[in-house]
C-alpha cells in the first residue's frame, strides 16, 4: 500500500513527506489509545503527568495572565479616549479578549514552549538511550505506557489552567486600573460585568481541549520518533514546538469559524 502511494507522489515529493508524517502520527494515536496494561500504573502515571504538565505550569500561567490582563486594559484605555465610546468599553474589551483569545490560545502556545518541548525531549532522550527499546523488550507497549498518560493528563488539566488564566487576566486588568489610574476601578468592574456571554467560556474550553490534545500528542510524536543522539533530541524538541504551534493556529481559525459563526 505504502509503495503504491510512494509511486503516486514520487519518493522525494513534499506531498509524500506530508503523507508520511500524517500516517505516522495517526498510527501513533491508534497504538496510544488502547486499554492500559495495568490501570493502577496508568493512574499513577496520569497523576504524575498532571503534576508535571499542570501544577508545574501554574506559576508561569498566573504571572502571564495577570500581566496580559493589565496590558490589555492599559492599551484599551489608551485607545478608547473618545467621549462617544461607552464607559464599559475597557472592561468589556479586557474580559472578552482574555476569554476569547488570550487565555485559550496564547496560553496554549506558551504551554507548547514549556510542556511540548519537555515532552519531546523526554521521549527523545528515552529513545536514544534505548529506554523505549527496553520497554518493548519487556513486553510493554511503549506508546500506550508513555504517551497515553501525557495526552490524557494534558486534556484534563490544561482547561483548569485556562480557567484560572481567565480569572487572573481579568483580575490583572483590575490591578492595572487601581495601580496605574488608567481608568477608575468602578468603571472597570462595570465593564467586565456588562453583556457577559457565558457561551464564550464554553467556546474557550472547547478550543482548549483541542489545543491540549494537539500540543501533547504532536510533541509526543516528534519525541517518540527521534533517531540518533543528543543533537536529534534538540531538533525533535524544536520540531515539536514549531509543528504544534502551526497546528494550533490552524485549528484556532477553524474552530473560531465553526463555533462563533
Amino acid at each position: 500500500m505504502i509503495f503504491q502511494i510512494m509511486s503516486i507522489f514520487g519518493k522525494n515529493a513534499v506531498m509524500f513527506k506530508i503523507f508520511k508524517e500524517f500516517s505516522g502520527y495517526f498510527f501513533m494515536l491508534r497504538k496510544t489509545f488502547t486499554r492500559p496494561q495495568k490501570m493502577k500504573i496508568f493512574f499513577r502515571r496520569f497523576f504524575e503527568e498532571v503534576e508535571a504538565i499542570g501544577l508545574d505550569s501554574l506559576g508561569l500561567v498566573a504571572i502571564l495572565s495577570i500581566f496580559m490582563g493589565g496590558v490589555i486594559l492599559i492599551q484599551s484605555a489608551y485607545n478608547f479616549q473618545n467621549p462617544l465610546i461607552p464607559a464599559y468599553a475597557e472592561g468589556l474589551a479586557t474580559r472578552d479578549s482574555m476569554l476569547l483569545e488570550f487565555s485559550p490560545t496564547i496560553i496554549s502556545l506558551i504551554l507548547v514552549g514549556k510542556v511540548g518541548s519537555s515532552i519531546a525531549s523526554e521521549l527523545g532522550t528515552m529513545r536514544v538511550t534505548e529506554q523505549i527499546d527496553a520497554l518493548q523488550i519487556m513486553g510493554v507497549d511503549p506508546m500506550n505506557y508513555l504517551i497515553l498518560p501525557k495526552v490524557m493528563a494534558g486534556v484534563f488539566i490544561i482547561p483548569f489552567l485556562i480557567v484560572i488564566s481567565m480569572f487572573l487576566g481579568v483580575y490583572g486588568g483590575y490591578l492595572a486600573s487601581v495601580l496605574t489610574d488608567a481608568i477608575p476601578a468602578g468603571r472597570y468592574i462595570y465593564g467586565i460585568q456588562y453583556g457577559f456571554e457565558p457561551y464564550y467560556v464554553v467556546y474557550a474550553l472547547i478550543k482548549t481541549v483541542v489545543f491540549a490534545f494537539i500540543l501533547t500528542s504532536v510533541s509526543a510524536y516528534h519525541g517518540y520518533k527521534t533517531q540518533g543522539g543528543a543533537l536529534e533530541v534538540g531538533r525533535s524538541s524544536t520540531k515539536a514546538v514549531v509543528y504544534s504551534t502551526i497546528v494550533i493556529i490552524f485549528f484556532n481559525l477553524v474552530l473560531t469559524k465553526l463555533l462563533l459563526n
Partner: protein, 252 residues
Amino acid sequence: MIEIGNISKSFGERQVLSEVSMYLETGKVNMVIGQSGAGKSVFLKCLVGLTKTDAGEIIYDKRNFTEMNYLQKKDLRKEIGMLFQGGALFDSLTVEQNVIFPLEMFTNMSKAERIERANFCLKRVNLTNANKLYPAEISGGMKKRVAIARAIAMNPKYLFCDEPNSGLDPQTSIVIDNLIKEITLEYNITTVVISHDMNSVMEISDNIYFIFSGQKWWEGNREDLLRTDNKELCDFVYASSFMKEFKKSQNK
C-alpha cells in the same frame, strides 16, 4: 534453545545480514563477535524483534517468532531479559524501582513480595545499599549490574546482552562477565552476548560465532578459536601488534 534459520536483513540497498543461521544452546553463553559495523547489533535486534527480518526464521523452543503476531510476540518477550549497551535504565526511577518495574507490570505480587524479589536480584548482582539511588547517581559498572538485576527479575528463559563491557574497566568487565556466566548456569538460560571484547570471549564463552560482512563466517569454541587459521577471524582476534607477536610465538 534458539534456532536461527537463514535470516537476512537489508536497509535499502545495503545488505546488513545475509542468510545467517545459528543454533543457540540453553545453559550456555553463546557469544557473537565481529568488527564494528559487521551486523552484530542488527542481528540481536532481529532476534528480539526490534528490527524486522527480510527473510528466514527465528525459533524460540519450537515457537516460531517470525510468524507470531504482535500479541504473541509481546507474550514471548516476557520470557526475555535484555542487557543494553548503556544499561537503558529508566532515569526517573530509582535502582529498586527499575528492578521492580517488570514485576509490577506483569505479576500480581504484593508490594512486599516485589521489594523482596528486587532485593534478592540486587543482592545476586552484588549490589546493596544502592536501592534508593537514581541511575544518574551510580557508576557505569553499577548501572550494568542493575540492568542485569532487572533482566533476571522475571526469571527469563533467554538473556540477551549487547556489548555488556563497553565503557567498563578490565576488572569491572570481568565481574560483569562472570555474573552473566553464573546467572546462565544458575537459571539454565539461553544467553546470547554480542561483544568485540576478546577478554570476555576467552573468559565466559561456550559457543562463539564470528560475523563478518553480515555473514556467519565461523563458529566454534574457545579452543577452536586459538587454533583457527581463518584469515578474517585471525585479523579480528589478533588485531594488535602484541597479539600478532603472540600468535607467531604460538605457531612456533
